[in-house]
């Protein structure tokens, strides 16, 4: 049985359609990353799955349960790390983790959780003395203390420094190895690439692409990129006809090609024939970032102003 089955999910806030006919299936022990621009409907989707929001239409099942009616028994099996939530500042991480451990039937040991999220140094300091990254780790700790079968992580590493992010990734990897099903949302493409078995790109409330990071990149096909510096005394007009899209930035040329083998052969043959060297010649496989930007489009400046408005 699948861990998550969502069919035709729709959720509106007044006039605004946040999620518009979204379908999603997550298998047990899978780590899936929801990727998409601000306002794409990521958080709303996750909050419906967590049981915070009632969908307007569609069917939702998590661990075989409808989150809206699963109640306490459902929440005993999930872990939730919200995008943003405060703490009771006068308590220590250890006290809050202990309190939360008391809510679950099969909690992890408090010290184990503290060690997992690497909060040992600050475990007995008041929350109000914690840094932003330490607070986020406490968030993670409270999300996993109940040893959940299904873990929801809404932008888990926002605000982490690079090493803290690596450690959080290790933690999520470890949880995956322990068999936890994880749904995470993220802005970071490297994070999705590193952690997720499968990436689901959503925009305007619907899924626009889905697959392993590699498959997604491959599906973008045309966008393997050959780049090199134009040899001195040569103009781009002299180059052989290669690729589908040629861009010049200063003396560097970037060519997108669906057939890298043939085009590389053409280019190097052309250069060797003229005793020229193609400095800085590189062949780049499309990154998830390229795929992502292809899919959702780079926002134009006017879009950005609109997104900032309340």
């Amino acid at each position: 049985m699948s861990a998550v089955v969502v069919q035709g999910l729709r959720k509106t806030y007044g006039e605004v359609v946040a999620v518009d006919g979204l379908d999603l299936v997550i298998e047990p022990h899978e780590v899936v990353s929801l990727l998409g621009p601000n306002g794409a409907g990521k958080t709303t989707t996750v909050e419906v799955l967590e049981g915070y929001r009632r969908p307007d239409a569609g069917s939702v099942s998590v661990l075989g349960t409808d989150p809206m009616v699963g109640g306490r028994a459902y929440r005993e099996r999930i872990g939730v790390v919200l995008q943003e939530a405060g703490f009771e500042e006068s308590f220590t991480p250890r006290e809050l983790i202990r309190l939360h451990a008391g809510y679950y039937p099969h909690p992890r040991a408090v010290q184990e959780v503290i060690d997992l999220v690497d909060l040992g140094e600050k475990a007995d300091a008041r929350v109000r003395t914690l840094s932003g990254g330490q607070r986020r780790r406490l968030d993670l700790a409270l999300g996993i203390v109940g040893d959940p079968q299904m873990l929801f992580l809404d932008e888990p590493t926002t605000g982490f420094d690079p090493s803290a992010r690596r450690r959080a990734w290790e933690l999520i990897d470890r949880l995956r190895d322990l068999g936890t099903t994880i749904l995470l949302t993220t802005h970071y493409l490297d994070e999705a690439q590193h952690l997720a078995d499968r990436v689901v790109v959503i925009d305007h409330g619907t899924v626009i692409a889905s697959g392993t990071p590699e498959a997604l990149a491959a599906s973008a096909g045309a966008s393997t990129v050959i780049s090199f510096r134009v040899p001195e005394g040569v103009t781009t007009a002299d180059l052989p006809e290669v690729g589908t899209d040629l861009r010049v930035a200063g003396t560097t040329v970037e060519v997108r090609t669906p057939d890298a083998t043939r085009d590389i052969h053409l280019l190097t043959g052309w250069a060797v024939g003229r005793s020229l060297s193609l400095d800085g010649l590189t062949l780049t496989r499309p990154s998830l970032e390229d795929v992502y930007l292809d899919l959702v489009g780079e926002p134009s400046p006017t879009d950005e102003t609109a997104a900032d408005a309340p």
């Binding site: 601000n38 049981g51 999930i78 405060g86 703490f87 006290e95």
Partner: protein, 545 residues
């Protein structure tokens, strides 16, 4: 040198701005002395003591309350402020700048001194304008020297406490735990000390606060001749100051070393944390007990909550009889004044705990999103809310014990025979107020509005509901209004319970019925309207673009 002095000036200005921007500091160091001075001067009627010179009672009250302001500013808030700055890393950051250490400490001391001076000037100014206090030119210098000496001495002690305390909470507990009890034995709240056993009075003389009150009192005493210098008192204050400075210097050095050692050490985990707590769904009992413990701990850690719901009522039990006829005064209904006050203050404490602190706490948690997180856990709503209500009951029981104990120790009032009835009323009232607090949180979404509404209701109602004053006849309409709300039924219940010397006392089913009725209404509102998310969380969840 002059550059350093300019730096000190800027530092003092900065620290003073910090103090000014902290409401609890202004309330306790300035508002509280001023309010109590005005209140008590009005209470005791401000009689003219000497027809010829026109000297009035307020002449002797003003230096006492000014002293309280000074010790609050220069001892309590200096100590707590420094401990907080250290905990938040402000001191560490300053240590990484060229700011000399003495300027850093001097800035805090200077600001605290200014605050104490402002409090003093306000008390004396109000006294001079409204209560005919005489300010004598010949003793002005003595007053100033006393204030400066005491400020320096208390500052040194405050810094020592900050260095001694491992956290700001410990500093807060140490400073206020010392100052507030000491104030009672230091001629601040007990005028002339006639009702005070001599051993308590002697304890007072061992500490510098009583010497400050008396030195300042001498400086404003128009019956004493001369320049007003009380050298004996000043010497004791200075002695404490030197001891404080030595201790502070030693402790600051020592704490730097332990801090360096501590940062490398890894804390050892308590045994209970090393294995999972349980392997089955927690029982309802375990859930509620955890919540009660959590609620009580949260209340105890909030200084304001403890002060206003526990310390303040107890303080008034001690204070009001001392200023209105002494501990032996008997009311028209035959109840000794301290016994009466112990009851009504316990009710007031329960109301502050349940209706204000519990409501504020949960509204804050909702505003910050902490409640949203809890909503995502298996903790049932009823367990969360029951825990809050029972937590309020626990704190209210501490208050009621403290109130009757204070009445017994300070005023010699016997424990009422009807104590089971009194405890019953307190528990019922605490449940009622906490349920009402939760009802307010259920109806009002923003945290600021919650605190405004709860305080806005409670304070005016207290005056109409025989909490602070009894026997005042208000206009009929106001009287009628006061009987609608549960507060007056609660004070009436506890007063009547104490009247009869039996275990069940004089409980009145009518009043108790009103408390039960309000509790039920409140619970219905909570069941119908309680929401885990506040306005802020809602706004955040609205998608953009």
């Amino acid at each position: 040198m002059s550059r350093d002095l300019r730096m000190l000036g800027r530092q003092i200005r900065h620290e003073f701005a910090v103090l000014r921007g902290t409401p609890i500091v202004i309330i306790l160091a300035v508002g509280f002395p001023l309010l109590f001075f005005a209140l008590i001067s009005a209470f005791v009627g401000n009689e003219t003591l000497d027809e010829r010179s026109g000297v009035r009672v307020a002449q002797f009250l003003a230096p006492a309350f000014a002293s309280f302001g000074i010790v609050m500013a220069t001892f309590s808030f200096l100590g707590v402020g420094l401990a907080e700055a250290r905990a938040r890393g402000v001191v560490k950051r300053q240590n990484g700048t060229p700011l000399p250490r003495w300027v850093m400490l001097g800035g805090r001391m200077g600001a605290a001194m200014l605050l104490g001076l402002a409090s003093t000037v306000l008390v004396l100014g109000v006294g001079a304008v409204f209560y005919d206090i005489q300010i004598l030119g010949r003793t002005l210098l003595a007053a100033l020297v006393t204030i400066v000496t005491a400020s320096l001495a208390f500052s040194a002690l405050g810094i020592a406490v900050a260095a001694l305390a491992s956290t700001p909470q410990v500093a807060q507990a140490l400073t206020n735990g010392l100052v507030i009890p000491l104030a009672f034995v230091s001629d601040i709240f007990n005028f002339g000390g006639s009702a005070m056993p001599s051993w308590l009075s002697n304890i007072g003389w061992a500490f510098p606060l009583k010497h400050l009150v008396n030195a300042l009192g001498d400086a404003f005493n128009p019956f004493l001749a001369g320049s007003g210098f009380a050298w004996g008192h000043l010497a004791v204050i200075a002695g404490w100051g030197v001891a404080g400075a030595v201790a502070a210097g030693w402790l600051l050095r020592a704490s730097r070393e332990t801090a360096a050692r501590r940062s490398g050490a890894v804390g050892r985990a308590p045994a209970g944390d090393r294995s999972p707590r349980r392997n089955a769904r927690p029982s309802a009992w375990a859930l509620v007990l955890d919540q009660v413990r959590h609620t009580a701990a949260g209340l105890v850690r909030e200084f304001e909550a403890v002060f206003f719901s526990v310390a303040f009522p107890i303080l008034l039990v001690v204070l009001i009889p001392a200023t209105s006829g002494g501990g032996g005064a008997v009311l028209d209904n035959g109840l000794a004044l301290p016994t009466f006050l112990a009851g009504t203050m316990a009710i007031y404490g329960a109301a502050v705990t349940g209706f204000v602190s519990i409501a504020e706490g949960i509204a804050d948690e909702r505003g910050s999103g902490a409640l949203t997180r809890t909503h995502g856990t298996p903790l049932p709503r009823w367990a969360l809310l029951t825990g809050r209500v029972v937590g309020a009951v626990v704190v209210s029981l501490v208050t009621v014990a403290g109130c009757y104990l204070a009445a017994a120790v300070v005023h010699g009032a016997p424990f009422p025979v009807a104590w089971p009835a009194i405890l019953f009323v307190v528990v019922l009232a605490a449940i009622c107020f906490a349920a009402l607090g939760l009802a307010v949180v259920s109806l009002v979404r923003s945290a600021q509005s919650v605190i405004g509404i709860s305080l806005g209701f409670l304070l005016p109602l207290s005056f109409l509901s025989d909490v602070f004053i009894v026997g005042v006849q208000y206009p009929a309409a106001l009287e009628a209004v006061s009987w609608v709300f549960p507060l007056r039924h609660a004070t009436a219940s506890i007063t009547e319970a104490a009247l009869l010397p039996t275990l069940v006392g004089g409980l009145d089913p009518g009043h108790l019925g009103m408390l039960v009725l309000w509790t039920l209404v409140a619970l219905l509102v909570v069941a119908w309207r309680f929401a885990w998310e506040g306005t802020k969380a809602r706004a955040r969840l609205r998608p953009v673009g």
